[in-house]
């Protein structure tokens, strides 16, 4: 279980980026965070893993054994211990491009192995086998020895998911996992994430309400750093317009799914 209480982030110049965000997430939930660009979606996730310090508030993760990890207001060893329980799926560009795919997956468990061993020996055969299982789960087993930098965006995103699976965390955080992907890959990634949520909760930020409606069990919306919606993933057009309308009137498209384009005329198709 995971609880975020009164998360607030203020800058030195007095600007408030996050304003008292609170929510709790249980096992089996797949939470999609929606909101306009710059609303604080990614900032919320960054605060949850301790990449950004918070001004106020708390983030707590509770494991099945009842152990609790806090990621706010801690540093060094304690923060590392908390972090190994959070599987973060960034956009694929955050993988180490000059390492092989399987090495990138195994990085997921760096927090659990002794630093000396990771320097001098590397990973064990058992860990490699487990990493292969994780890769197999996302359909990337045959790419294991490829250099990560040579993969496409969708492939990298799968590797990032495999890394998070291999990490065996208490929950997954996904920062815009489908933002730079084509529709086909987006659906594939969402289809991979959905069953993961049955084991451990997933919180992801998204820009596509139609995707969250289809795959998430719950949607949270953030606007100008404030939580404005928390509940059913099927939002009405009015609710979406409300979420996406910023201070300077922003027109949301009337139809979320655009109308089908007319078929190509034969003359055009030949060209």
């Amino acid at each position: 279980m995971l609880s975020v209480t009164n998360l607030t982030k203020r800058l030195a110049n007095g600007k408030t980026l996050l304003n008292g965000i609170s929510f709790t997430v249980q096992k089996g939930e797949f939470v999609g965070i929606l909101g306009p660009s710059g609303a604080g979606k990614s900032m919320t996730l960054r605060c949850m893993v301790g990449l950004t310090s918070v001004s106020e508030g708390d983030v707590m993760f509770t494991g099945e054994n009842g152990k609790t990890y806090r990621t706010t207001a801690i540093k060094g060893r304690e923060l590392r211990r908390a972090r190994r329980n959070i599987g973060v799926i960034f956009q694929g560009c955050n993988l180490v491009k000059r390492l092989s795919v399987i090495e990138n997956v195994m990085i997921g468990r760096l927090g659990r192995i002794h630093p000396l061993r990771s320097w001098l020996y590397g990973f064990t055969d058992r860990e490699a086998a487990e990493a292969m299982e994780a890769l197999d789960r996302v359909g990337m087993a045959e790419f294991a020895s490829r250099m990560t930098g040579s993969l496409s965006g969708g492939e990298m995103q799968r590797v990032a998911i495999a890394r998070a699976i291999f990490q065996r965390p208490l929950c997954f955080l996904a920062d815009e996992p489908i933002a730079s992907l084509d529709p086909k890959n987006s659906f594939a990634i969402m289809r991979l994430l959905r069953p993961l949520a049955l084991e451990r909760p997933i919180i992801g930020t998204f820009h596509q309400p139609e995707m969250t409606a289809r795959y998430c069990t719950r949607v949270i919306a953030i606007r100008n750093g404030t939580l404005v919606y928390d509940g059913d993933p099927h939002l009405t057009r009015e609710q979406l317009a409300e979420i996406y309308s910023q201070d300077d009137a922003f027109e949301i498209e009337q139809n979320i799914v655009p109308p089908a384009l007319p078929p190509l005329t034969p003359a055009l198709a030949v060209r």
Binding site: I86, V88, V96, G111, M147
Partner: protein, 264 residues
């Protein structure tokens, strides 16, 4: 009609700077005692001396092999040691790894080192360690750190911060981040630069030999001082061959590396 400011290339506009520059050159020539008569004289003498250098005394070749190997050995020892030290200096000099004061100190040290020519370094080291290859090795290690350390530090600073973040997010320690996120990213460029530095070190090793580090450079000066010019020719040809081979060798290796990277 107003055409605005059109910049036409009228050479008369440049007359004044050209004149000033010409005067400066004339002054420099006067300061350096340039004289065409001396030039002609020297050329004549030099052409006469070429006769003294040829044909090369190939008998001396056998005695040049060992010094040549010594020259290569100095570079071959100094380059990898310098590269390993350069990684340490590079980490200490990168803003995304080291604290500010450490980065400032390291960068200043490196900049200072780069201001000292290897010959000056060697002359100081010879005073401390005595003549010989060892002083040469130390001089080249320090020189290699100066160049490679800066390149490594710059390469580390160019790493995508998000990659480092993402490895930190699994709970990795600083040392693990360096091992898995930083070093793999800078390793290929480090290898390429090290090979280039090996080539530079071979050349420097010949030169340092002449001022006290032994090897083929030493043989060259000895031969000239003893007026055995035809032996000196052999030493010169051998050192030329060394530099040429090192350059070609590192070039081929580097292009192979690039090709291998493309295949990946």
């Amino acid at each position: 009609m107003d055409w605005g400011d059109v910049n036409l290339r009228r050479y008369s506009k440049h007359a004044k700077p050209v004149l000033v520059f010409a005067l400066l050159v004339l002054f420099a020539a006067w300061e350096c005692e340039v004289s065409l008569a001396d030039l002609a004289n020297g050329l004549r003498k030099g052409l006469m001396m070429i006769n003294l250098f040829f044909p090369p005394d190939w008998q001396a070749f056998a005695r040049m092999v060992q010094p040549a190997l010594a020259t290569v050995a100095v570079a071959a020892l100094a380059t990898p040691i310098g590269a390993v030290c350069a990684v340490v200096f590079g980490l200490a000099g990168a803003s995304n790894i080291a604290p500010r004061w450490l980065r400032f100190t390291t960068r200043s040290l490196i900049a200072l080192e780069r201001g000292i020519p290897e010959i000056v370094l060697l002359l100081i080291l010879v005073a401390a360690f005595g003549m010989g290859a060892f002083a040469g090795v130390i001089a080249l290690v320090i020189g290699s750190i100066g160049m490679l350390g800066k390149l490594v530090a710059d390469a580390i600073e160019e790493i995508d911060a998000r990659t480092v973040d993402s490895v930190e997010c699994v709970g990795a320690t600083r040392a693990q981040v360096i091992r898995y996120a930083v070093l793999p990213q800078v390793f290929p460029s480090l290898v390429a630069n090290t090979m280039f530095r090996f080539e530079v070190n071979i050349r420097a090793s010949v030169l340092l030999g002449a001022v006290g580090a032994g090897g083929i450079g030493y043989e060259l000066t000895v031969a000239i001082n003893q007026l055995e010019y035809r032996k000196a020719t052999v030493a010169a040809i051998v050192s030329l061959a060394l530099v040429f081979l090192a350059e070609r060798g590192s070039d081929i290796l580097r292009s192979r590396m690039v090709a291998a990277e493309r295949l990946q």
